[in-house]
């Protein structure tokens, strides 16, 4: 194969570019304008004026949460029937489709003869989950959803990332889960 060469032309810089100063002053004017604009707005905000013009694009995170898109895949939850029991029928679809193998279900006989099964245990190990959302798509019963908008999932140990059915049914207890003792129930054997 013949050697091909590519001639890179040096940009032809004019005198004004080469002496740097005009560009430098342009840059200083831009940042200076931002500085004075934002400073004025910060001061006005202290007096409750022009509150709708933001002086910074920052979200002050723990106090002020960033608005999230409704379809964002966040922490899982299990939906409930009207009597409060899980909708899940333990069909194992989600466990089968899960690419990370992080859903562990133990099925049980349902007391109602019209319903075939119910989960005895339904655990998700969030430490392994890749948030692909396949479980939600696979579910025939709309029993599992990822719409809690909970993103601050953190724990002191791997066991702390392990959600039981109780946690999944009650996502509003999330804060308590994060801070709970790392001694969590042992993962169910697959």
């Amino acid at each position: 194969m013949p050697v091909t060469t590519k001639v890179v032309k040096q940009p032809n810089m004019s005198f004004m570019v080469r002496i740097y100063f005009p560009a430098i002053f342009q840059g200083l004017a831009l940042t200076g304008w931002h500085f004075f604009r934002n400073l004025t707005l910060h001061i006005l905000h202290k007096f409750d004026l022009f509150k709708d013009v933001p002086a910074a694009v920052t979200y002050q995170y723990p106090e002020e949460k960033r608005p999230l898109a409704p379809r964002l895949r966040s922490r899982h939850r299990l939906t409930k029937r009207s009597n409060g029991s899980p909708r899940c029928v333990a069909c194992m679809m989600c466990e089968t489709v899960c690419p990370a193998h992080c859903i562990y279900i133990v099925a049980d006989e349902h007391p109602d003869p019209n319903i075939e099964k119910r989960p005895k245990r339904f655990d998700i190990d969030l430490g392994i989950c890749v948030y692909c959302g396949f479980c939600v798509e696979a579910c025939p019963e709309d029993a599992i959803r990822m719409d809690t908008q909970i993103l601050d999932i953190a724990a002191y140990s791997r066991e702390g990332m392990y959600l039981t059915m109780d946690d999944l049914l009650n996502p509003e207890n999330h804060g308590a889960i994060v801070l709970r003792d790392p001694k969590r129930p042992q993962p169910a054997s697959q």
Binding site: G27, L30, T31, G32
Partner: protein
């Protein structure tokens, strides 16, 4: 004699106190100003009780952190020099302020105190000399760390200092020719004159090109962006690679002290130091007549205030530059220094000399 010692001690104390505190405040200014410039909010979480004070406690937290960090000396480094180096930088940067006048003569009773820690008649030379000494600390840091990155940083620092100190000296020479003195206090007094009867005869109006070159070379002297080749965190970590804790803090601090020094020098040399336009001893003058009479103490206070305000404005401006411009590449740095700024400063000097001779005749 005794009064002289006492007044000098007090004046130095005031100077050192203000400089060190302003340098500590620079860490706050750095965070906050960069944040405001970039549409952010900046560090505001450090608090004492419910008080956050716009993040003013962060410098305090920094200091506590630095003091309690491990003080590490690389086993193959030179222990004594490694410890000595940050102190060298710091001390020379601080004692440079001895020659900076922050006010005119203060008269208490029949005692006259020049508001300047040391009234040196070669003030400008003293400042230039001490400023070049600062780089020894940097070079020593690179040498004694026995680390190639640090060594490279030290070498770059010395190359940069040599290149830019020439320009710095030459731009100041233009002013020395105009003012006819090396004494900073006298230089500032000279700037109390008026050009064409209305424009204050500040250095910046007489040497505009000289001022730009001085600023550029001066910022190179402070080793901050766009001239932070000796540090250049993203290429070589810098001459302080092997420093930790407060010793690193001292280098950090030296940069700020040098920034303040540059602000003081620009103010004194180019912006009339403590001069307030039209304010002379006794009050405001216009066209040779006294318009508004003021007591001596008030005039002195206004002059000190004017000096402080100018220095703070320069500090702000240097921060603006630091957060606006990218870093020069090494070859660009050398090219700008030797091929652009040096010839320009020489031409400036020549033009000044020619004009001075013509006006003098």
């Amino acid at each position: 004699m005794l009064e002289h010692v006492i007044s000098s001690t007090i004046l130095s104390g005031i100077m050192i106190f203000n400089v060190i505190n302003l340098a500590a405040l620079h860490t706050w200014l750095e965070r906050k100003q960069s944040a405001v410039m970039q549409d952010r909010i900046g560090a505001n979480r450090a608090h004492i009780g419910p008080f956050r004070l716009l993040g003013l406690f962060h410098p305090l937290a920094d200091a506590i952190k630095m003091f309690f960090k491990e003080d590490f000396v690389p086993p193959s480094g030179h222990r004594v020099l490694h410890t000595l180096a940050p102190f060298l930088s710091m001390v020379f940067a601080l004692i440079t302020f001895a020659a900076i006048p922050f006010g005119d003569v203060l008269r208490i009773g029949d005692m006259e105190i020049g508001l300047q820690p040391a009234n040196l008649n070669i003030g400008v030379l003293y400042i230039l000399a001490m400023l070049s000494m600062v780089v020894y600390g940097v070079v020593l840091a690179g040498y004694s760390s026995n680390n190639n990155y640090a060594f490279l940083g030290g070498l770059r620092a010395s190359a940069q200092m040599i290149s830019y100190e020439v320009t710095l000296g030459l731009t100041i020479m233009g002013l020395v020719m105009i003012y006819g003195t090396l004494n900073l206090q006298e230089m500032i007094r000279w700037q109390g004159r008026l050009l064409f009867g209305f424009l204050p005869a500040w250095g910046v109006f007489m040497q505009p090109l000289g001022f730009l070159l001085f600023l550029a070379a001066g910022i190179a002297e402070t080793k901050r962006i766009p001239y932070d080749i000796p540090e250049a965190e993203s290429e070589i970590i810098g001459y302080f690679t092997e420093y930790s804790g407060m010793k690193f803090g001292m280098y950090f601090f030296t940069d700020y002290v040098e920034t303040i020094l540059l602000a003081c020098m620009s103010t004194a040399l180019f912006f009339g130091g403590w001069q307030v336009p039209f304010l002379r001893s006794g009050g405001f003058h216009w066209g040779g007549t006294l318009v508004l009479g003021l007591p001596h103490l008030l005039v002195t206070l206004m002059q000190i205030g004017s000096f402080t305000a100018k220095v703070l404005a320069f500090c702000w401006f240097f921060m603006l530059i630091r957060w606006t411009l990218p870093r020069f590449r090494y070859d660009q740095l050398m090219k700008v220094g030797w091929k652009m700024m040096l010839p320009l400063s020489l031409a400036n000097l020549l033009a000044t000399a020619v004009i001075l001779v013509m006006v003098g005749n």
